[in-house]
Amino acid sequence: MTTIAPPVVRTKGSNRSSGGRSGSGSVTWMALPAFVWFVLFGIIPLFGVLFLSFTTWNGIGDISVTGLTSWKATLTDPGLPHALWITFVIMALSWAVQTPMSILIGVFLATSKRYRELLAVLYFIPLLLSSAAIAITFKALLDPNFGLGAGLGIDALNQDWLGNSTLAMATLIFIVSWQFIPFHSLIYQGAVRQIPTSMYEASQIDGAGRVRQFFSITLPQLKYTIITSSTLMVVGSLTFFDLIYVLTGGGPGDSTRTLALEMYQKGFQANLMGPASAIAVILVLVGLALSLLLRRLGGRADESQLEGV
């Protein structure tokens, strides 16, 4: 815990003898509580889930290693490609709705000073609510018998929003956007304000209009923010669980059953921990692949993006 490589490297005795123990060896132990804790409940489970995917376990009794049985069961289950597909649909649609909206709202919030403070306060509210609360609110609000549509007597609003497969998906995307657009627009707001105003002045002298400025200056300057925000959206969408669990429970039928939900139902409702672990491994791999892909797209290696996350 005390002396590791560095003290050997810089053997400036004067530093040491001056009383302060500034050598990095003396601070290493300070990182240990966090590190050990995270390894215990973060890293070990990560390997644990890989191990469990090669076992059979009902969640209560003994765990028996059964080789590829769980993997075979998982990979031949038609539920898996379906859940993968649903996960990607939610990911793609919620990204496609949220990104343009967040950028436009963020750009507006960054330049309009008068209401900015007020808007920023109110925009943040959805982020304070638990997904469970949001799901319950919308479930009540959209109820075909007791909800807003029935109460106002507007037929167009009075659909079985969560009872029809297509509508349920659309509703889910809307609620996800409701929950997260405010957050992402605040990210963009912060980023737009860091764009040097001189760029806008110069382009204005050249006669560029607002639309031209948006596409030629704002959007290119937001490149890294778009990547950061998209990474958060895409990787985050893999883990939507609470919202869907409370809102639709994966239904109607299996039309909103994502990977995370499939895993939960396999593991904690059907007591098939082996196959559930295999799904969890797939979940990790998909997440890693996506974040690597998005980082590749960013061009600039890690530093800036990691700082953002």
Partner: protein
């Protein structure tokens, strides 16, 4: 990361940087962005408005009145019903879990962040930092089954501690990242002068770095508290007994319990949201500026 302070939100209102932009606004109001923002604001606020007014309606009037009109006969009966449905216990459970997880998580993350900055040349610390950064990509959902296994083997199943332990772990990576980025901005000379005065690293950490990192500590605390207060999966998987329920789980159960009593459901949602809105009101400035500065790179 140098701008994670309360300066951010209002810094550009006055002074030269804002000036040219004001001129560009003379070209006219940004109608497109403006109307979009206001429409979205209405969409954001409508469900919140609806849930609050509905919580004060009686079940009878709810079905016959305009759902968007404020209540004519204000009633607190719904809140009484919710509180009588053991709400206080769930609230208390959530407070215990949140405080029990956030305080240790932030403290150990701060220590780790400090060590990572001060021992930047140490290979072991760089390795640990790499583990934390990689850890950011591990979703809780993916490891919930082994976490469940660990908890039952520790004989902690169905206790609040079962929720606390993994919550701490999953708060650590982001907290370490944000705090170490912040500590890195503390001028080297300050550390040096502390050292000259004979302060130990331990003393320097608490007496110098801790106060200087306060804005980031507040941001990280609120952010983690929010996530843990609203956490659903851990309580769902690691507890069973209604006595150990935290608020989000209790909410999901209220919904079944109250059935079609929409005003009571509305009251339960409102009541569970009040504490975090209060917390937000207190720490809003720091949370917002911390997040926008941290993410807006």
């Amino acid at each position: 990361m140098s701008t994670i302070t309360e300066r951010t939100p209002s810094a550009t209102v006055t002074g030269t940087p804002g000036h040219p932009r004001r001129k560009s606004r003379a070209r006219g109001y940004n109608w497109f962005g403006g109307s979009l923002s206001w429409i979205w604001l209405v969409i954001v606020m409508l469900p919140i408005y609806w849930i609050v007014i509905t919580s004060f309606k009686t079940q009878d009037t709810y079905f016959i009145t305009n759902p968007l009109a404020p209540p004519t006969d204000l009633t607190f009966q719904n809140y009484k019903d919710v509180i009588e449905a053991d709400f206080v216990r769930y609230f208390f459970n959530s407070v215990v879990v949140t405080a029990g997880a956030v305080i240790p998580a932030v403290l150990v993350s701060f220590m780790a962040g400090y060590a990572i900055v001060r021992g930047a040349s140490n290979r072991l610390l760089r390795g640990m930092n790499w583990v934390f950064l990689t850890g950011l990509a591990i979703p809780l959902q993916a490891v919930i089954i082994p976490v469940y296994l660990i908890i039952i083997r520790l004989k902690l199943y169905d206790t609040l501690l079962a929720i606390v332990l993994p919550s701490i772990a999953f708060a650590i990576p982001l907290s370490v990242l944000v705090l170490s980025n912040f500590i890195r901005d503390v001028p080297k000379e300050l550390f040096e002068s502390m050292r000259m005065d004979g302060a130990s690293e331990w003393g320097t950490m608490w007496r110098l770095a801790f106060p200087l990192t306060r804005p980031a500590l507040v941001t990280v605390t609120i952010y983690n508290a929010l996530g843990i207060w609203n956490g659903f999966l851990l309580p769902l998987v690691l507890t069973q007994n209604p006595d150990q329920r935290t608020i989000p789980l209790a909410l999901a159960n209220f919904q079944g319990q109250f059935g079609i009593n929409v005003p009571a459901i509305a009251a339960s949602v409102t009541l569970t949201t009040v504490p975090i809105v209060l917390l937000y009101a207190i720490g809003r400035r720091q949370l917002l500026s911390g997040l926008t500065a941290g993410f807006g790179k």
